[in-house]
Structure formats: C-alpha cells, structure tokens
C-alpha cells in the first residue's frame, strides 16, 4: 500500500517535532481502516492543539505608535494541554457494521493501546492507538513592522524542505496587523488596539492544509519596563487533508475537518529592556496554555511616551 498521509498530518501538526520516519509510514497505514467521519474524530484534537498554539502570542501589546519606525524580530513558543476528553472519541459505525455496544477509542493524542470493536454478524473493527500526548507545542518566528497611522504589520514565516522525499515541502505564512484604537480616544487610560491575523500552512501542497484566522482586541498599559496586557479574540481554524493511492484511487483520503471557532482570552506580561523584549502569557482558547518568547528590535514610542508623561 502506497498511501502517503496521516503521520504526515501529525508530523506537520506537531510542527516537525522529531517524529521518526517509520512512524510516518505507520499512521498512514493506520488510517486506512477509518472512515472519513472517524478520521475526523481521530484527528480532531489536532485542531485543538493547532488553534490553541497558532493563535497565541500574536498580539502582545495594545500600544501601536501613531508614527515612528518599528521593526522587531523574535520567537514565540506556545503550548496547550489536552483534556481527558481529547484523548478518546466515540467512532461512528461505518455502513454495514453495527457495533455490539458503544465503545470509546483513542484519538491521535490518546492511549497508545488501540481498541477492537466487535460488531454484529461476527465482524469487528480495529481502531489504532494514539501518541499519548499531554500537550502540544510549537515555536515560530514573528516580525513586526510599522508604524503608519497607528498601524503595524505582523508576519510569521517558515519555508523549508523536510528532507524526506515523502514529506515534501513545508510552508507556513502568517500575516496580519494591528491598528491603534486609543489614538482615536485620547481619554483612554490604557492602550487599545484591534488586530487581525491570518495563518496558512501546507505540507506537500494540499496533503495537509491548515488555515486560521484570529480577530483580537488587546489592551495594555506601560508601567516602567513592564507592560501587562489582556486580549479578547475570536479564532477560527480549518484543517484539510488530501491524499491519493495510485494503486487504489477509490481509497483516496479527502478529509475536511469542520471549522473550529472559539473565543480566545489572553493575560500576559511584556518586559522591554532596550532592544530586548520578553513576554509570557496565558491563553484560554481552543485549549488552555502558555506562551513565552522574546523579540529584538526597536519600537517607535513617541505617543506612548507622551501618554506616560501625561
């Protein structure tokens, strides 16, 4: 069987985090026995992990200078934990199979031990185990550039060849911006900005395609070198996978996981020492988790200084 897929999905989901080659082939084979609907159930926690991490640590300040040169480059590392409910799902009986009793089976992050579900007529179905993951973690580079009319641009980007011919190329792009609200409301005692950020990553073209969109309102206040911030946002994420078996085209996998949408709350603290900024934040979104990171660069701050002075 020559079907190149699922562990690739996992691999990309885990952002290339050190999964060995045989594992790639394996999960690929595992999913052959799953219907599309159950494939969604198996992979669903990936959406939690991806949405919870990708949509974190994007907006770390409500302060956007009205004018002035800004350029920062840094890294954000995000992690979310999985709940016990993420570790299992209840498979839907495929047509022609009626299970003797409802049975929960592992998701991709669940127990490594799989489950055999017995059905009527002597039939049975095997469900694969999971990777026994308690959380999900990724790190991405992020840059900001500004500022014009109280607006900055935010970019995340990675493009690399995964080396293994089976895996192909990995492309990740995030782009968005923030616009100062407080510049229009001088009486505000905090800095306030709205933001939007779109992220898209692909492995081997459409083998795995993840898109996310975040809308956000961030408030912050500078206190010395520290800047506490809070954010409220709305996240959406879609995950599509497509793979074909050259030998058995009827067995092609074409999975479009339902769009995952959720509110997103952030509580964070940024500290800036000259050109170095360090931040940590807690996020409650698709999953709950933390993000840490730093950036290097310069931030135009005339308006901010004026606010502090006033």
């Amino acid at each position: 069987m020559n079907r190149p897929i699922v562990l690739r999905l996992i691999l990309s989901g885990l952002l290339l985090a050190a999964v060995s080659g045989p594992a790639v082939a394996q999960l690929n084979e595992d999913l052959l026995g799953l219907s599309d609907e159950n494939l969604k159930g198996y992979l669903d926690p990936l959406q939690v992990g991806l949405s919870g991490t990708l949509n974190s640590a994007v907006f770390r300040s409500g302060f956007v200078p009205q004018t002035g040169f800004e350029f920062t480059v840094g890294v954000a590392a995000m992690a979310v934990g999985f709940s016990s409910g993420d570790r299992t799902y209840r498979p839907v009986d495929p047509e022609g199979f009626t299970s003797l009793e409802p049975t929960d089976v592992p998701t991709v992050v669940g127990d490594p031990a799989g489950v055999i579900v017995l059905g009527e007529g002597g039939l049975a179905r095997g469900y694969p185990g999971g990777f026994d993951l308690e959380g999900f973690e990724i790190a991405v580079p992020q840059a900001s550039l500004g500022c014009v009319l109280g607006t900055r641009v935010l970019v995340r980007y990675i493009a690399l060849n995964l080396g293994d011919a089976d895996l192909g190329e990995f492309k990740y792009l995030g782009i968005g911006g923030q616009h100062s609200i407080s510049q229009w409301i001088p009486s505000l005692s905090v800095d306030l900005a709205v933001g939007a950020f779109y992220q898209d990553f692909k492995i081997s073209d459409d083998l795995l395609h993840v898109q996310s969109m975040q809308l956000n309102l961030t408030g912050s206040r500078q206190i010395g070198i520290l800047q506490p911030y809070v954010g409220v946002g709305y996240d959406t994420l879609t995950l599509d996978a497509h793979a074909e078996d050259e030998d058995h085209p009827e067995d092609a996998i074409d999975v479009n996981l339902d769009r995952k949408s959720n509110m997103h709350f952030t509580l964070g603290l940024m500290a800036r020492l000259s050109i170095l900024g360090i931040f940590g934040e807690y996020n409650a979104g698709a999953g709950a988790g933390f993000a840490l990171g730093f950036d290097l660069g310069t931030i135009g701050g005339a308006n901010h200084a004026n606010r502090d002075a006033s």
Binding site: M1, L14, A17, A18, V19, S20, P22, A23, A25, Q26, L27, N28, E29, D30, L32, G33, V75, A77, A79, P94, E95, G96, F97, P112, A113, G114, V115, I116, G121, G122, L123, A124, R125, G126, Y127, P128, G129, G130, F131, D132, L133, E134, G135, F136, E137, A139, G224, I225, L226, E250, A271, L273, I278, G280, L292, G293, F294
Partner: protein, 210 residues
C-alpha cells in the same frame, strides 16, 4: 528605581527559564512508545455474469510473504501482530454491458471455501439487488455469522503463517449463485465481492514528549 531594578531581575530570571528549561520549548525531547496499529487488507473475488448461467466461481489468494512485506513496509513489528479478522464484506458491479438497465439478481448467495479443505460456508445469501445502481459502487453485504467465522478461521491460519515466517499462499474460493431477472434475456455484467480484513499489531514509535 527600586521597582525597576526588581522588574529587571524578574525579566532576567524569566529569560533564564526560557533559555534553560529542561524541556526547551523550541526543541522538544522525544519518548518511545509501543502503539497499536491497524492496517486494512482485502481479498477480492470477481465474477462474470453471462448468458443464462447464474452460478459463478472465482479464487483469490492471500500471499503470506507479500502480506508480511506490506506490514514491514508499514513499520509494523510482525511478531507483535495478534489479531487478523474480517472487518467488512462489500460487493458491487464493475461493468454493465446490457442496453436495458433493469437487470436484477434475486436470492443472490455467496459461499466461501478453501480448496485445501472440504468445508465451505455461506458468507451472505437471500440478497435481492438491482444490478445497474451498483455500477462503480461497493456496498455492504448482509453477512452471515457462520461465513465470517469461517473466514476468520482462515485468517487465524494466515496469522500463524505470518508469525512463523512461512510463505504460504492461501486460496480463497467463492461460489456465487442467484436468479438473474429478467430471465430469457442475455445477462452481461461483471461484479465483485471484497472481504476487508484488519491486521492489528504494534509498532515502536518515537514521538515528541511535551
């Protein structure tokens, strides 16, 4: 000033945590685990329904050496394979060569047997099915418990051969019968029965340890 100094100290400590954590956020460690894996294989039996003859036979094989190779290619530890069983039985039409599309099979029955043994078992029967709508489709068959148990016994022998390093080729024969309606008009279509079976084993995995 004092507050600023303390804040700087806090920042430096935070930086240390980021850079020197036991599990660096950017470089996850890995762990090994044994994970249950499932591969789906199948045998497919094809039949050419022609003229007025409505009883057909076909034989397919399960090549143990090939199956073992498939499992190894998938990273499955062959020694760990502990279950092989029928997951579903499907049937469908692969070619329909009649002008009229009203062909129907009445009381369709399929039995399976092993040429190396005298026994056989009915895998499904009493199926009444219009033929043309099944063109290009694979639909579930209403299976019989005895027939599935029979195939599972065969698969148990296959499993034993896999684990013992054998290279047998198991033959699976199927006999199909039924009444093709309307009678008196030449029957001309091809169809198939696919028996999907799951092979359950374990594989050693190296995964991120978050």
């Amino acid at each position: 000033m004092r507050i600023a100094t303390l804040a700087r100290l806090g920042v430096y400590l935070a930086l240390l945590v980021v850079l020197q954590g036991a599990k660096c956020p950017t470089i996850p460690t890995t762990k090994n685990l044994k994970m249950t894996v499932v591969t789906q294989q199948y045998v497919e039996l094809t039949f050419a329904a022609r003229g007025s003859i409505n009883t057909h036979s076909d034989t397919d094989t399960i090549d143990v050496a090939q199956l073992r190779q498939d499992l190894e290619d998938a990273g499955v530890d062959v020694e760990s394979v502990d279950s092989v069983f029928v997951a579903s039985v499907l049937y469908g039409v692969t070619a329909y060569n009649e002008a009229a599309t009203d062909r129907e099979i009445v009381d369709g029955t399929v039995t399976v047997s092993r040429p190396d043994q005298a026994s056989s078992a009915t895998i499904f029967d009493n199926v009444d099915q219009p033929v043309y709508p099944l063109l290009g489709e694979l639909v579930p068959a209403p299976v019989e418990l005895g027939g599935i148990a029979y195939v599972n016994d065969l698969l148990a022998d296959v499993l034993q051969a896999i684990k013992s390093g054998g290279s047998e080729i198991f033959l699976v024969e199927a006999d199909a019968s039924g009444v093709s309606e309307p009678q008196g008009r030449y029957t001309n279509f091809d169809w198939r029965v696919r028996i999907n079976f799951h092979v359950v084993g374990e594989t050693d995995m190296e995964v991120p340890d978050f």
